[in-house]
Amino acid sequence: MNKLQQELQQAALQRDTRRHFLQTCSTGLGAMALGSILGGCDNLFGRDEKVAASIASADYDPMAAPMDPRLSQFAAKAKRVIYIHMAGSPSQLELFDYKPELTKYNGKDCPQELLTGKKFAFIRGVPKMLGSTANFSQHGQSGAWISDYMPHLQTVADELTFIKSMHTDQFNHAPAQLLMHTGSARLGRPSMGSWVTYGLGSENDNLPGFIVLASGGKQPDAGKSVWGSGFLPTVYQGVQCRTDGDPVLYVSDPNGMPRDIRKQTIEAINQINKQEYEEAKDPEILTRISQYEMAFKMQTSVPDAMAISGEPQYILDAYGVDPKKGSFARNCLLARRLVERGVRFVQLFDWGWDTHGTSKDTSVDFGLQTKCRESDQAVAALINDLKQRGMLDDTLVVWGGEFGRTPMQENRDGQTQAFHGRDHHLDAFTVFMAGGGMKRGLSYGETDPIGYYAVKDKVHIHDLQATILHQMGFDHTKLIYHFQGRPFRLTDVAGKVVKGVIA
C-alpha cells in the first residue's frame, strides 16, 4: 500500500492540478475500503484544501479536474443562488408594478402609437387597455408596492430588491427563456448555472453542483436546454432532481440488491481498478475510482437531501408543504435543503404563469391568483427560513419570468375574449431578488404611467446576468470559454452590472 501511495503522490505532482483528491487525501486511497473513505476522511474533499486554481489563471484547464472547487475572480457576495423561474411569465401589472393611470384607460382602445411597428404573439388589430385586476398597497419600511395576490410576500417586503424596469428582446417563451438562462435566444449555449459551475466547480462531493427542480406539471418551454451545458463539457449541465421516481436518474440500486451488496460491488470494482492502475498507470483510472466512490455516496445523499420527512412540522407548515405531494412549495423547501448541503446553483421552474385569458384558468384574475396562492407562501417562507439560518446574506434568491405582460387585454386572432388576459410583452417587466449582497427594501427602475415601457434605469436580461455573476465573484466579461474559434460568455457581447441594486 505504501508503494501505491507514493506513486499516487508522484502522479499527482506530475499532473499538477489534475484530480484534486490525490493532493488532498492520499491516505483515503491507501485505505481504499469504502467505509474508511466514507466515514473517516473529513479532509478528503475539504473546502479549503480543495481550491486548486482560479479559472482566471493562465494555465487553467477545466477538463483537468472539472468539478474541483475554484476561486472566483474576486470576493463573492453570494456563495450560492436559488433562481426561481415562473415559466410562462407572471403579470407585473397584477403583482408589483402599480399603475393607477392604467386603470383609468381600462376598456379603451390602445393608442395606435403603442402598436405601430410592434409585433405581439397573439394580439391582432387594436386591443383594449386593461387596468390591473389586483388591489395594491405599500408594505414594510421600504413602502414596496405588492398586490393582494401576494399576501405572504408583503410580510418580507423589506428583504426584497425589485427591478421594475426589466426588458428583453424575445416575446416567445422558448427563446425568451433561453435568453434569460443562456444569454442567447437560440439553443446551444450554456446556462447560467453551468457557467457558474464551470467557474467555481462544486462545493460538495456527494451532490451535483447544479440542481434543477421543476413543478407545475410541465417542463419549461425551452426544455432541458435552459439548464443544459451547451458547448461546455456536459459535466456542467444542471441535474434535474425529480419528484417522482428516482430523484436523480439511476440513483436507486436494482431491485434485489441491498446497500451492502452494492457497497461490496463498488469496493470490488475499485480494488480491481486500483490493480489496473498499477498495470496501466493511466491517471484516468484514479479519477474513475473516485467517481465510483462519489456515486455510492450520492446514492444515499441525494435521497437524503430530497427527503423532507425529517423537517419539523412548523417548517412544513411555514412553506405550506404537503409531504405526500410534489409541488412548488416542496421545491422551495428542497432548494433550502440543497443549498444547505453545498449545492451552488439551484434552479426552480414552475410552469403555468402564461395568463393569456383564453380560459378561466389562464386569466390574470382567477388563474393568476391560483398560481400565486400556490407559491406566495413558500417563497416568503424560503426567504425567512434562509434568514433564520443566517444563510440569506450569502444566498442570492432571484424570482421572475422570461418577459412581461401587456397593459392591453389580449384579443387573440382579433376576437374579444371572455376572460381577462394579457399577451407577452418584452418592453417592461419586474423581477425581484433577495439576499446575496443586494440592497434590501429597494425598488429600482420605473416604467411609464401605463406600464408599457421601462423608462428609468432600464435593465436588460444581460445586465441582470452580469449582476448575478458579479455577486458570485465574476467579471462577466472574463468568464469565457472558447468554442468554434471564438470566446463565448453568458452575456454574449453585452451586459452591464447594475450597480444601483448592489449593497
Partner: protein
C-alpha cells in the same frame, strides 16, 4: 532555448543528436537563419497585439491581420513597420518605449525581449508575410528513414527498424527522436499489444462493437502472420462498420429526430442516417461523399440517394412556436449551414466572421456573406411542413408518377424541351417546388399569419402576392382550406380593384388547418406583376380561409394535370432535402452589418475567401452555387479538405488529432505535433487512396503506431501525459454509443437490424414533458428495444439520458469533438440503469453455462468481455465478491428472485449477476485499451 540545449545537453543531447543525424528529411538547423512568419511571428502577434490591432478592433487604424494593412500608414500618417529597417519602425519603438503611455502592449506586461528580438530580425529581413501552413496546398513530404544505415541494411540490429512497419511509423519515430520531442528525444515506441487487446481495440474502432465469440475465436486461433490484416479486412467489410462511422458523422451533421426549439416536434429525416450507413459501407469516396451532402440536389441527373444526402444541411433546427418569425429562423439555419460547412469540412472557425473580420485568421467580414450566398438560395423557409422534402410515392401513386413523366415527355410540343418539362413536373410532384409560401404575402387586411405560420383571411379581407412572373404560367396551384361554406376568393391583377384574373370557391375542408391542392386557370398575362387576393365569405364571416402556398405553372394537358393534382394531394412519406430557388425565388444576399440580419449592407455575389485558392483557375470555371463550392473543396489544390478529413479519422482511432483542435486548423488552433505526417496522410489519401476512407483507415490501423500497447510507464506519463507523440497506443473511455452497444453485444441482446426510423428503447418516465406537444415516448417492441444506440430516437430538448451522461452532444449544433468527462452520474448508469442490469443477468446466464466452478464461470464471463483471462489477483477480488454475495442470497432467496426477475431464486445465479454487474463496470471494460 536551442542554444542552451546544445551547450548544456548531456548524454540525452548526444543520443538525440546522433539519431537526429541519421534521420532523413528533417534538416532543420538549431540556428534558423531566416525568421518564419507563420511559426515564429504570427503566434507573437496573435498573443500580444491582435486583440487591439486585428480583425475586430483596429486601434489607431493599425491592424496586423493582413500585410497591406500592417504596412499601410496608420492614424499617425506613417506606417508602423518599415520592411528592412527595424530601428526606424514605430512598432519596435513602441514595444521598447519606457513611457507607459507609449509602451505596447498598452496596460499589459511588456513583451518578452526574445520576442522583440525576433520581431526586429523579421523586420530587418524584410517583414515578409507568410501564409499560415494550413491555408497552403500540402505537398507530399519525404518519408523519414528509421534506424541506422547498418540496421536498414540488416547488418546490425536496431529495434525500431523492426518495429516500424509503415510510413506512419517512420514519421512517428522520427518525431519521437526530434530535438523538441519530450525528454529531448529519448522516448521509444511501445511494443505491439497482445492479440486479445488488439482484437477488441480494432473491433471497437472500426465497427463500434466488440467481437462476437465466434469472431474472437477465429482471430485468436489464427496463427498466420496475416491474421491481423484478415481481421481488419473482415471488420472493414462488416455491415456494422457503416453504423459506427455514421454514428460519428451524426454529431457533425447535428442529426436529430426533432426540429428543436419550444415544441421540438418530430421530424422524419432518418433516411439521411441510412444514406450515411450505406455510404460508409459501400466505401463511397470522400470527395463524392462531401459533394452529395453539400450539393446532391444540383448534381446532374440527381438520384434519390443524392437528394437524401443533402439532408446533411436540413438537420438545422426549425422553429414551430407560435409567434416566431420564419425569416429570422430561416436566416439562422443558413448561418448554421455556413458555420457547419467550415467546421466539418474545412476545420476552420468561420463563425466569428459573421460580425466582423476574423480576429486572427485572414478572413474578411464580407467574405462571410459571399460564402453565405452559396447557401442563401435554399427554398426551406422555416415552415412547419419542413418543405422542401422529397416525397416517396408508393404503389399505384408511384406508377402514376412514372406515367405522368412519360406522358409529359411524349406530349411536349417542343421536343428539345421534353426532358426539361418532364423533369419540372416530376420535381413539382416529388418536392412541391417551386412554390411561394404564404408567409410571404403582405399588405394584409382582415388577415393574419395564423399561429405565425400560414396566411389566414376573413370576410372582406385581402392580401398581396408580390412580384410574380406570369409569362407562360397561366395555372395557379393553391394549397388551401376552410370551414366556411361559401368562401369566395378573387384574384386581381396589379391592385385590389385591378382586372379580375379568377374567382373561385375555397375548398371546404372542415377546418382551415386542413388544406387541399387545387389548380386555377388564369388568363395569359405577360411580365412581372403583383397579384391581390380578396375574400367574400358572407355566411361565416369570422371563419378563416387559410392558404399554405401558391405556385404559378405552365399549362399541362388535362390528363397530366389531373394526375399531378392527385399526387399533390397525397401525403406520402417524405424527407427534408436541399433545393435552390431560381427566377422569382432567387434571393439576393446582403452583408449583415455587425452580423444582424435586420441590418442589411451591400449585396454580394457567391465567392470563396481570398486567402484560399480561387474558384476559377485556368482550365476550370466552377458554377457559383453549392455544387461549384463542393467541387472547389475537393480540388487537389485545396489546402484544407483532405487534411481535415485525415485528421478527423486519426482522432477517432488515436483519441487525439494530429492537430488536436480538429475543429480549428487556423492560427488559433493547436499546432500539429506531426505536420509532415498529416500532410503525408492527406496527400496519400487523395493521390493513392483516391479518397477511399476504408483504405485510409486500413493504413492507420495496420501501423505499428496504432498497434502499440497502451499501458504506460511512469516515464511516459511524465514526459508525454497526453500521448501527443504516440509512444504508446490509445487508451480512452468508450463513447456513449459503444458503452450501450457493448453491453448489448456481450449479453446477446443486441439486434442486428439495420436502417429505418429511430426507435424508443426503455427510458425512465417523465423525460419527455414538452409543452404543446402530444408526442410521447412509445416503448419499442421486440427487437427494436435492443437496437444499436445510433438508432435511438433523438429529441433535442430531451435527449436520451444515458447518452447525454456519457458526453453525447444534444445536437442543436454541429459538435466536432466530444470532450470526455468522468463523472459519478456515469457510474450510476452502468451500475443501475435497467438496460445494464438486464445485460448483467444475461452475462450471468452465460457464465452459468460456461463452467462448473465459480472460478471457471467468472473467467468465462471476463473472457467474454475482454477475450483474455483475469489475473489471479483480480480473480480473487471477484471470487470474494461472488462468495459473499452468494451467502447473502442463500439467506435471502426472495431478494435473489427480485434481482433475477426471471422466476428463478438461485443464489448462484444472483451472485453471478452481481459479479457480472461489477465486471461490466470495470475501468478496462468501459475503456478502449
Amino acid at each position: 532555448m536551442k542554444a542552451n540545449w546544445l551547450i548544456l545537453g548531456g548524454v540525452g543531447a548526444v543520443v538525440a543528436l546522433s539519431s537526429f543525424s541519421l534521420l532523413g528529411g528533417f534538416d532543420e538547423t538549431p540556428f534558423a537563419a531566416r525568421v518564419d512568419f507563420s511559426t515564429q511571428i504570427k503566434p507573437i502577434l496573435n498573443k500580444n497585439c491582435i486583440t487591439c490591432h486585428g480583425g475586430v478592433k483596429k486601434a489607431s487604424d493599425f491592424s496586423l491581420l493582413f500585410k497591406e494593412e500592417a504596412l499601410a500608414p496608420a492614424k499617425s500618417g506613417h506606417p508602423a513597420i518599415i520592411p528592412g529597417d527595424a530601428d526606424k519602425s514605430e512598432l519596435i519603438r513602441r514595444l521598447t518605449a519606457t513611457d507607459p503611455e507609449e509602451r505596447m502592449p498598452l496596460d499589459g506586461p511588456p513583451m518578452k525581449p526574445e520576442d522583440i528580438d525576433l520581431l526586429r530580425k523579421w523586420i530587418d529581413q524584410g517583414a515578409e508575410w507568410g501564409d499560415h501552413w494550413a491555408y497552403q496546398t500540402p505537398e507530399t513530404p519525404s518519408v523519414p528513414s528509421v534506424g541506422t544505415i547498418w540496421s536498414r541494411m540488416g547488418i546490425t540490429n536496431y529495434p525500431e527498424t523492426d518495429w516500424a512497419t509503415s510510413e506512419i511509423d517512420q514519421f512517428v519515430i522520427a518525431k519521437l527522436h526530434a530535438a523538441d520531442a519530450p525528454g529531448g528525444g529519448i522516448l521509444t515506441p511501445a511494443p505491439i499489444a497482445d492479440k486479445a487487446t488488439l482484437l477488441r481495440r480494432v473491433s471497437l474502432d472500426l465497427t463500434g462493437l466488440p467481437p462476437t465469440e465466434a469472431e474472437a475465436t477465429a482471430f485468436l486461433n489464427d496463427a498466420s502472420p496475416q491474421a491481423y490484416e484478415k481481421l481488419v479486412d473482415r471488420l472493414l467489410a462488416a455491415p456494422a462498420f457503416g453504423e459506427k462511422w455514421a454514428g460519428m458523422w451524426l454529431d457533425l451533421a447535428r442529426y436529430a429526430d426533432t426540429k428543436g426549439y419550444e415544441r421540438d416536434p418530430g421530424r422524419s429525416i432518418w433516411r439521411y442516417r441510412d444514406y450515411l450507413i450505406r455510404a460508409f459501407n459501400s466505401d463511397k469516396p470522400y470527395d463524392q461523399f462531401l459533394t452529395e451532402q453539400l450539393a446532391g440536389d444540383l448534381m446532374p441527373h440527381a438520384t434519390d440517394e443524392q437528394f437524401i444526402a443533402t439532408g446533411f444541411h436540413r438537420n438545422t433546427m426549425n422553429n414551430d412556436e407560435g409567434g416566431t418569425q420564419d425569416e429570422e429562423f430561416r436566416v439562422a439555419s443558413v448561418i448554421d449551414r455556413v458555420n457547419t460547412t467550415w467546421d466539418v469540412f474545412q476545420g476552420t472557425t468561420f463563425g466569428c466572421v459573421q460580425c466582423h473580420s476574423h480576429p486572427y485568421d485572414p478572413f474578411r467580414h464580407d467574405e462571410y456573406y459571399k460564402y453565405m450566398a452559396f447557401f442563401n438560395n435554399a427554398r426551406d423557409e422555416d415552415v412547419t411542413t419542413d418543405t422542401p422534402t422529397l416525397r416517396f410515392y408508393k404503389g399505384a401513386d408511384s406508377v402514376k408518377l412514372g406515367q405522368l413523366r412519360a406522358f409529359v415527355q411524349k406530349t411536349c410540343p417542343d421536343k428539345s424541351r421534353a426532358n426539361a418539362e418532364a423533369q419540372r413536373v416530376t420535381l413539382l410532384a416529388r418536392t412541391l417546388e417551386p412554390k411561394i409560401n404564404s408567409h410571404d404575402f403582405d399588405q394584409l387586411v382582415n388577415a393574419s399569419l395564423l399561429d405565425a405560420k400560414y396566411f389566414g383571411v376573413q370576410d372582406a379581407g385581402s392580401a398581396r402576392i408580390k412580384n410574380v412572373t406570369l409569362t407562360g404560367r397561366p395555372r395557379l396551384y393553391v394549397a388551401w382550406g376552410t370551414a366556411a361554406p361559401d368562401a369566395q376568393i378573387t384574384f386581381h391583377l396589379d391592385n385590389l380593384t385591378g382586372p379580375v384574373l379568377a374567382t373561385v370557391m375555397a375548398p371546404v375542408t372542415g377546418s382551415q388547418w386542413k388544406d387541399s391542392v387545387q389548380v386555377i386557370s388564369l388568363p395569359n398575362v405577360a411580365g412581372k406583376h403583383n397579384l391581390y387576393l380578396s375574400l367574400a365569405s358572407p355566411t361565416k364571416p369570422k371563419d378563416w380561409v387559410m392558404v399554405k402556398w401558391v405556385s404559378f405553372q405552365p399549362v399541362l394537358a388535362l390528363p397530366a394535370e389531373t394526375a399531378l393534382l392527385s399526387l399533390l394531394n397525397r401525403h406520402p412519406e417524405q424527407t427534408p432535402i436541399m433545393l435552390d430557388g431560381a427566377g422569382d425565388l432567387a434571393r439576393k444576399t446582403h452583408v449583415f452589418t455587425r452580423g444582424s440580419w435586420l441590418t442589411l449592407g451591400k449585396v454580394v455575389q457567391p465567392d470563396v475567401p481570398h486567402s484560399l485558392p480561387p474558384m476559377d483557375v485556368d482550365d476550370q470555371k466552377l458554377p457559383r452555387n453549392r455544387l461549384g463550392l463542393a467541387q472547389w473543396m475537393i480540388r487537389s489544390d485545396h489546402p484544407l479538405t483532405a487534411r481535415v478529413a485525415v485528421n478527423r479519422f486519426w482522432e477517432q482511432l488515436f483519441g487525439t488529432g494530429l492537430v488536436e483542435t480538429v475543429e480549428d486548423m487556423g492560427t488559433q488552433g493547436i499546432q500539429p505535433t506531426h505536420r509532415e505526417l498529416l500532410d503525408w496522410l492527406a496527400t496519400t489519401f487523395v493521390q493513392e487512396d483516391h479518397w477511399k476512407m476504408k483504405a485510409l483507415l486500413k493504413r492507420m490501423v495496420l501501423s505499428s503506431t496504432y498497434r502499440q500497447r497502451s499501458d504506460v510507464t511512469k516515464q511516459l506519463v511524465a514526459e508525454d501525459p497526453y500521448n501527443h507523440y504516440f509512444a504508446r497506443g490509445p487508451r480512452v473511455r468508450l463513447a456513449a454509443e459503444q458503452v450501450r452497444d457493448q453491453a448489448l453485444v456481450i449479453s446477446g441482446l443486441l439486434s442486428r437490424k439495420m436502417y429505418g426510423p429511430s426507435v424508443m428503447p426503455a427510458q425512465p418516465d417523465g423525460i419527455w414533458q414538452s409543452p404543446y406537444s402530444g408526442e410521447a415516448w412509445v416503448l419499442a417492441k421486440g427487437d427494436d428495444a435492443h437496437r444499436r444506440a445510433l438508432y435511438t430516437y433523438w429529441k433535442r430538448t430531451a435527449p436520451y439520458p444515458s447518452m447525454i451522461t456519457f458526453d453525447s452532444p444534444s445536437r442543436e449544433f454541429c459538435q466536432i469533438r466530444r470532450l470526455r468527462t468522468n463523472t459519478p452520474l456515469q457510474a450510476l448508469v452502468t451500475l443501475n440503469d435497467p438496460v445494464y442490469v438486464e445485460a448483467a443477468q444475461r452475462l450471468a446466464d452465460y457464465m452459468l453455462n460456461h463452467g462448473k466452478m465459480p472460478n471457471q464461470q467468472l473467467q468465462a464471463g471476463f473472457r467474454r468481455l475482454m477475450f483474455r483471462d483475469l489475473s489471479p489477483k483480480k480473480l480473487a477480488v471477484l471470487t470474494k465478491l461472488y462468495q459473499d454475495t452468494e451467502a447473502y442470497y442463500s439467506q435471502n432467496p426472495a431478494e435473489a428472485g427480485k434481482l433475477l426477475a426471471s422466476g428463478s431464486t438461485s443464489p448462484k445465479q444472483a451472485a453471478l449477476t452481481v459479479t457480472a454487474n461489477a465486471m461490466m463496470n470495470l475501468d478496462e471494460v468501459i475503456t478502449k485499451e
